[in-house]
Each structure stands twice: as structure tokens, then as C-alpha cells.
């Protein structure tokens, strides 16, 4: 009896913990606006192929620094966007999707264009 009750409690705790609320931002594109977003700026911090996603920072014309989240490191590298290719201070334009939170200057970036070259880090996305 006691054993069955405790098993029930455990099952309930497990079920609750594993069923993440659907409204939560999801890794991937769920935390980003559906709207296409374009931005130009000067490279502030060059491409870093570290961590779960490659990153870089650019400074827009208004002086605000944006965090660019690229594809995972291996995919970003396959797209030709390796560390050190685009020098700091170069002007780039990017295409992607802004963070849903307007106070966060972050763009999940699909393409980076520099010096006539386009690095399409998410080739399957338009």
C-alpha cells in the first residue's frame, strides 16, 4: 500500500518535471522573431567557433553592439566562416532573426556578407 502510494508520487513528480510548459522559449528559433531582420555594422569581436553556437559581435551605425548567434561551430566552419577570416573593424551586413525580447540586442544569424562574400551558415533556411 505504502509502496504503491510512493510509486504514484514519484510518477507524478516525474511526469510534471518532464512536461515542460509549451510556451517556454525553445532552443533553436522559438526564442526569435519570425520576421526577417537585416543589420549592417562594424565587426567588434570576430567570429568565435566556441561553445554550443559560434558567435560574433558587430557595432551598428547608432553605436549599439549586437550579439550575433551563428550556427553550431562545425556548421559555421563548413560555411567557410572560420575564426579570423573577417577582420575586426570590417563592415559586414547580416540577415537573421532578432531575439523576441526587444531589450536584448541579439540576432540568430543565418547569413553574413562581407567584402562581396556571403557566408550562409544556415543554408537550409531562406
Amino acid at each position: 500500500m505504502y509502496s504503491r502510494l510512493s510509486f504514484g508520487i514519484c510518477a507524478a513528480v516525474l511526469t510534471f518535471s518532464l512536461s515542460a510548459p509549451p510556451a517556454w522559449a525553445h532552443h533553436g528559433w522559438g526564442g526569435n522573431s519570425e520576421e526577417e531582420f537585416e543589420l549592417s555594422g562594424i565587426v567588434e569581436t570576430g567570429v568565435s567557433l566556441a561553445g554550443p553556437h559560434a558567435t560574433m559581435k558587430i557595432k551598428a551605425a547608432d553605436g549599439k553592439v549586437w550579439d550575433l548567434t551563428l550556427a553550431p561551430p562545425a556548421a559555421t566552419s563548413r560555411a567557410g566562416l572560420k575564426e579570423g577570416i573577417i577582420p575586426v573593424g570590417a563592415t559586414v551586413s547580416i540577415h537573421g532573426h532578432r531575439n523576441l525580447d526587444p531589450s536584448r540586442l541579439e540576432v540568430k544569424t543565418e547569413r553574413v556578407t562581407w567584402n562581396g562574400r556571403t557566408f550562409n551558415v544556415y543554408p537550409d533556411r531562406k
Binding site: 505504502y2 509502496s3 510512493s6 514519484c10 522559449a25 561553445g51 561551430p73
Partner: protein
């Protein structure tokens, strides 16, 4: 966090190839799987499931697997954190995860201090002792489930 990111470990994580993070992440998941898989079995037994299997017998495989799993998860976890430690400052799930881990470890210390646990291989336990162990098992499940849930959610913040 700044120190951790600037440490030799942080540099190694960032500068040793595009697959490093993914592989260390895999090791972390394997560690968590070993830890949680083993403690799920042990905690359910402490809560009173599978009474026909003695606590002494069930603790034989589960305690070392959970311990090794924890050590693997902790070591790989520090590496993951060191990659971009400063990025996680302000991530609320981090402030849930680490206290939950601390609670889980304190709970292990409490278990080890119980005479009932230390003498599980020597004698039968009284009903009162078994209910004390059940409380420990419940706290353990809640704290580790919280730690794992918050840990997973760090990436989605």
C-alpha cells in the same frame, strides 16, 4: 566566472576544435544519465518500491554508478561552463541548478550519517528507520530532478 572563462581550461575549450563542445556535452549527458539512472532506482527503493530486493543488494550497483556519474558530470560541466562562463551570469536557471545540486549533496551526507543506512548490510531496519530513509529518497529525487530540469533549461533562456 570571468576567472573561469579566462582560465587555461576556458582557453582549451574554445581553441581545440569545432567538435570539442559537442563531445564534452555528450560526456556530460552520459554522466548525468549514469547518475540519474542509478539514483532513480535507489531512491525508489528507499521510498518503498521493490521491498523484495534488500536495500543492501540494490545499493551495491547503484551507489558506485551514481557516484561515478556525478564525478563525470561535474568535471565535464565545469568545462562547458568555462567555455563562455560570463554568458551565464544572470541566467536564472543557473541559480536554481546549483543550489539544487548542493541540496542533493547535503542529502547524500545526511544519508551517510544515518545509522540505518550504514548498517543496512548488517541487520533488518525498523519501520521508523525505513520511513527516515524514504524521506531521504524523496528529497534526493526532487533535488536531482530540479537540478537536471534547470540545467537543461539554461540553454533555452
Amino acid at each position: 566566472m570571468v576567472w573561469l572563462q579566462g582560465s587555461a581550461l576556458g582557453h582549451a575549450m574554445r581553441e581545440s576544435g569545432v567538435w570539442t563542445y559537442g563531445v564534452v556535452n555528450l560526456v556530460h549527458i552520459l554522466g548525468v544519465a549514469a547518475l540519474f539512472g542509478a539514483l532513480l532506482v535507489l531512491d525508489l527503493r528507499l521510498l518503498g518500491v521493490w521491498r523484495n530486493i534488500s536495500l543492501a543488494a540494490i545499493s551495491e550497483p547503484t551507489v558506485p554508478i551514481a557516484t561515478i556519474g556525478f564525478l563525470i558530470a561535474a568535471a565535464s560541466g565545469v568545462c562547458l561552463l568555462a567555455t563562455k562562463a560570463t554568458e551565464y551570469v544572470g541566467n536564472p536557471f543557473l541559480y536554481i541548478k546549483f543550489p539544487a545540486i548542493a541540496l542533493g549533496l547535503l542529502n547524500v551526507a545526511a544519508l551517510n550519517s544515518l545509522a540505518a543506512w550504514r548498517q543496512r548490510k548488517l541487520r533488518d531496519l525498523s519501520a521508523h528507520e525505513q520511513s527516515k530513509l524514504a524521506v531521504i529518497g524523496g528529497i534526493s529525487l526532487v533535488s536531482w530532478l530540479t537540478a537536471i530540469t534547470a540545467g537543461r533549461m539554461i540553454a533555452y533562456w
